[in-house]
Symmetry: C2
Subunit: 312 residues, 2 copies
């Protein structure tokens, strides 16, 4: 039996190219049960880069007591050396203290992590949405002053486990406040994976109407309910050109009894290859990386493509 | 934590309603390793009907030595009684002998199983595509003469594990030959799950140009590479109104090292609910059915939605 690659069938309304924003080392490993040794993380990042992923979010400068899985940010950057440098190697910074640590390591690209809902802002940031924007204001200003690129994640953009469906206007408001700080890019997160394609279109339309164009927007879907790829393709068709994904589908959802986390980079790459959309990544190298990482984590990768191809 | 249902966001270009053609009891169980006892199958069908699925393909009148999993077609229909009767309870018939058996049991709705590729026709039917159409001709004619409704499955419509990507013209040719026999409906099968949305559109466009309208077409996607839902939504957007799915995602792909089979009915229902598209099925009842069936089969359901919601 020979391996059957997808036939490439370009579709009208689709772009020639999209940028994959790889979140496996940060969002993926942050939500894995086991704490991965720093040298394994460095090897993971190097394999992702070697597979052709241009943008890789490396880690989070979060206090170790909050997220023990990512308590080794400095050590990881030391190990990565030149491989961890540049605008295409963002790191998450939760607050000014995190930014200080990141800038000390020479980081030139940061991400902050906001919320579209009050409940999640309280639970994750211990403050209201408005207070969190106040907290982020100096983080963003100092980052920009230092010449860094800034991404703003907005979590719970579709549903919230405590509040239910999130009104589109509320999400647009949270996004606008963060973009008003001067951020370069938004990443719309469906943190619990409940969104569907009509909802995605409504939110993107509303952002566009509010003056936040598609060139400033990235999407970040979780596959908890199997909707991640369909939603991502809907966003691409609507004009989004940066899509978040996690190699192997790493990162269980912390708010659902599910082993499925982020959209798997391999499943996305399969779709993009079939649509003739360039992205720069090599599928075989990604599958080999996920297979290797699954051995380190002691659990199979939830990616459908990895499951189907591993061992080929 | 409250359960977060998807927000309903109707989208332009989408229909008010689609028909789910449930294939779990036939295509699902046919590809499971274990042979399910007949009373459990009958209970499975009854639960699917109680969950609001209008159309349920019950079984296959295939020789037991070919598919031991479905060797009890007569017994199943006897057990189902009135619940197994009518046009919305199709059964697969591989040949005239199978049709004889089905008609003897009062079946009024049948499906035949053709191939778009020569290799699969040889391996599955032991004859060429042309010879298989000859074999099906009297099956279809006698079915129609008996007043039965006839569906024609066409397998390997996107890729073939031996031949690779399948040219669209070749698929259209196989479909046309089967429809020329007088079949009521085509079901386009991506048997190994390699297709992507651009390819889906190209095939549907080509069928339309060849005079096979969308009202005659159903789609049947496997989730081997994570593309099933995205492809199904693409087909619905293109005008297809009948979509195949398998409750729980039952049915491992026999041609890939993958536990993932058909599009899970629950994942489809989640998407349709979010899009405000009516379908008649109750998600909770489907999830409960899949959870129960997983216990019978001794393996978890591969549906993302079932994984996330089971136990709620």
């Amino acid at each position: 039996m020979t391996r059957t690659l997808p036939m490439t069938e370009p579709t009208t309304g689709m772009p020639d190219r999209v940028t994959i924003y790889e979140v496996g080392p940060r969002d993926g490993l942050q939500n894995e049960k086991s704490v991965v040794p720093t040298p394994v993380k460095a090897e993971f990042v190097r394999r992702l880069l070697a597979a052709g992923l241009g943008t890789v979010e490396l880690t989070s400068f979060v206090p170790q007591r909050w997220v023990p899985q990512l308590g080794d940010a400095e050590e990881l950057l030391d190990l990565l050396g030149e491989d961890g440098v540049g605008q295409q190697r963002p790191v998450l910074v939760p607050n000014e203290r995190g930014l200080d640590r990141a800038l000390e390591k020479g980081v030139t690209s940061v991400a902050i992590f906001g919320s579209a809902t009050e409940t999640f802002a309280q639970k994750n940031l211990n403050r209201s949405v408005a207070e969190s924007v106040e907290m982020f204001a100096p983080v963003v200003k100092r980052s920009l002053d230092a010449g860094a690129w800034v991404r703003a994640y907005v979590s719970m953009c579709f549903g919230d486990p405590w509040e239910g469906p999130v009104p589109v206007e509320q999400v647009v408001d949270a996004c606008s406040r963060l973009m008003d700080l001067g951020c370069d890019q938004l990443s719309l997160g469906d943190t619990i994976g409940v969104g569907t394609s009509g909802h995605v279109l409504r939110l993107l339309d509303a952002l566009d109407e509010a003056g936040i164009g598609m060139e400033q927007v990235a999407v970040h879907f979780h596959d908890t309910y199997g909707q991640a790829l369909a939603n991502t393709l809907t966003a691409i068709r609507r004009g989004v050109r940066v899509v978040d994904a996690s190699t192997g589908g790493l990162g269980g959802c912390p708010y659902a009894r599910s082993a499925t986390g982020n959209l798997a980079t391999e499943d996305l790459v399969w779709a993009l290859d079939g649509l003739g959309i360039e992205h720069g990544a090599d599928l075989d190298a990604l599958v080999a990386t996920s297979t290797w990482m699954a051995e380190q984590l002691g659990r199979p990768a939830p990616s459908r493509v990895v499951t189907a191809l591993a061992g080929d």
